[in-house]
């Protein structure tokens, strides 16, 4: 249970600040596509006998780069992301079913399996969170300027295209580290819901990132509590708790005007 809590807190740390950028840059669908590709990553990792987080990272990153490179054709980005997102998920499910011999607990990867995290999982989660936070801290000012205007960033000598690659890499990392906790289907929720909840009560970008992280941590603890004492599935319970917190902050924000 302590391990599960540590895993939840680590995931919240990785997701909080990054989730703010996903919300500000309207990358929710992008996050979905990257996360859905994770199942394919799981299948390929098992096929080639490499570690699952590594396989997920590689495939999620490939998906992120693919999405980033396809734009402005005859199909809107919205529809294109829909094609890639659901195509990747379905392909992953098919690939898993074709795996010879091995029996994969598909539910664990779709909905998370936080109650059985190993010491190794914890190292991956906290290591990933540390990398995500370090890169965000390093590029914070630039990324924020680029949310507002790429031209403004260019004029200041920044490189928006390079920073967007960093964001893609970070989202792939978050997918790789949180698949164990909330599962591929709900990773985007872990990025977006705490950030959206934080928006209701924050007056500055930094405050919003801190609030998002705190809300993610509380949601993890709350979800785990429900899983432990009510017997609900942990991953979805965490997201339900986050959504409940969103309702609370939305009401608080409205009251404060």
């Amino acid at each position: 249970m302590v391990r599960a809590l540590l895993a939840g807190v680590g995931t919240a740390l990785a997701c909080g600040a990054l989730g703010c950028f996903i919300v500000w840059r309207r990358m929710a669908y992008f996050g979905d596509a990257t996360a859905h590709a994770a199942i394919l990553g799981v299948a390929l990792a098992l096929m080639f006998s490499i570690s699952v987080p590594l396989g997920v990272l590689i495939v999620a990153l490939a998906m992120g780069l693919l999405v980033g490179s396809l734009s402005g054709a005859t199909i809107t980005p919205d529809s294109l992301l829909g094609v890639l997102s659901h195509g990747a998920l379905a392909l992953g499910l098919v690939a898993v079913s074709l795996m010879p011999g091995t029996r994969i607990d598909l539910d664990a990867y779709l909905f998370g399996d936080i109650l059985v995290v190993s010491r190794m999982d914890l190292i991956v989660i906290w290591g990933g969170a540390a990398v995500v936070l370090a890169v965000l801290a390093w590029r914070w000012q630039a990324l924020l300027a680029e949310v507002l205007s790429n031209d403004l960033a260019h004029a200041a000598g920044l490189h928006p295209a390079r920073d967007r690659l960093f964001l893609t890499l970070l989202v792939a990392m978050v997918v790789a580290v949180s698949i164990k906790v909330v599962g591929a289907l709900l990773i985007t929720a872990m990025l977006i819901i705490p950030a959206a909840a934080a928006r209701m009560i924050a007056r500055g970008p930094e405050a919003m990132a801190v609030w998002a992280t705190c809300i993610g941590i509380v949601a993890s603890a709350g979800g785990l509590y429900a899983a432990r004492f009510v017997g609900t599935p942990a991953g979805p319970s965490i997201i339900v708790a986050a959504a409940a917190l969103f309702c609370v902050t939305a009401a608080a924000g409205r009251l404060r005007g």
Partner: protein
């Protein structure tokens, strides 16, 4: 030497040639305005000069360590991003509060320091953007359609402010505008563009050039007519209900 010297700039968007063999030089202290119809490549040229658009041909030489203050055409202020005016001025580099206040005061919006960026009016936002652009005491102020969405008195006041800032900071100003009649009065040199440069020179020279007349027309509804009409002061027969001279000295509509 020139602050910026761009020669034979080519920019293509796929098959279309947005900017074609354009030469632009910018000297210290001068105000240069690029005018042209929609889709004439004027914004693309400006964005190429600041490095936001890769050029497909030509060279851009900027003076060593050139400080550029840039005012973008618009900001993408997502409603999900909480950002005060003060915090915005810290992008992309943090600045001391005294300096931020001084810049805001200079553009007449110091009372907005604690306001959320998303809640500002168009005119207020333009002045905040301008305040941010002058924070690093730029040698070149670059503005992309800075008065889009402002009414005529507000644009006129904005251009007067830019002229005053040029005199104070000694910076050059390079801007794109579609408001010929307003911008002409505050410009040293006009570049008239339609993919390539059609003509350039002082406002008087350009408005008299055949190439310019071809682009903007000479009819009563055209910009040239408006320009002349302001300078001839014969507004009554056009049914105009304001005095152009007072438009140009209009009080700051923001404060």
């Amino acid at each position: 030497m020139s602050l910026i010297q761009a020669t034979h700039i080519d920019v293509r968007h796929g098959a279309t040639h947005a900017v074609q063999g354009v030469n632009v030089t910018l000297e210290a202290g001068e105000i240069v305005t690029i005018v042209g119809p929609n889709g004439s490549g004027k914004s693309t040229l400006l964005r190429a000069l600041i490095g936001a658009v890769p050029v497909d041909g030509g060279t851009i030489k900027a003076a060593e360590g050139l400080r550029v203050g840039y005012v973008p055409q618009k900001l993408h202020i997502d409603p999900t991003l909480p950002l005060t005016v003060r915090r915005f001025l810290n992008l992309p580099k943090r600045v001391p509060t005294a300096k931020a206040r001084e810049a805001l005061a200079r553009t007449g919006v110091d009372h907005l320091e604690k306001r959320q960026l998303a809640g500002l009016s168009g005119g207020q936002l333009q002045r905040v953007l301008l305040a941010r652009a002058i924070l690093n005491r730029p040698q070149v102020l670059v503005l992309d359609e800075p008065t889009q969405g402002l009414d005529q008195p507000a644009s006129a006041a904005f251009y007067r402010l830019i002229e005053a800032l040029r005199d104070e900071l000694g910076c050059a100003v390079l801007m794109v505008s579609h408001e010929l009649h307003v911008v002409m009065s505050a410009t040293d040199r006009v570049i008239c563009m339609n993919g390539h440069i059609c003509c350039e020179g002082t406002p008087e020279v350009v408005t008299a050039a055949p190439a310019y007349r071809e682009l903007f027309g000479t009819g009563t509804g055209g910009a040239l007519a408006l320009y002349r009409h302001e300078h001839n002061h014969d507004h009554h027969e056009h049914g105009c209900d304001h005095d152009p001279a007072s438009v140009l000295s209009a009080e700051d509509p923001v404060s």
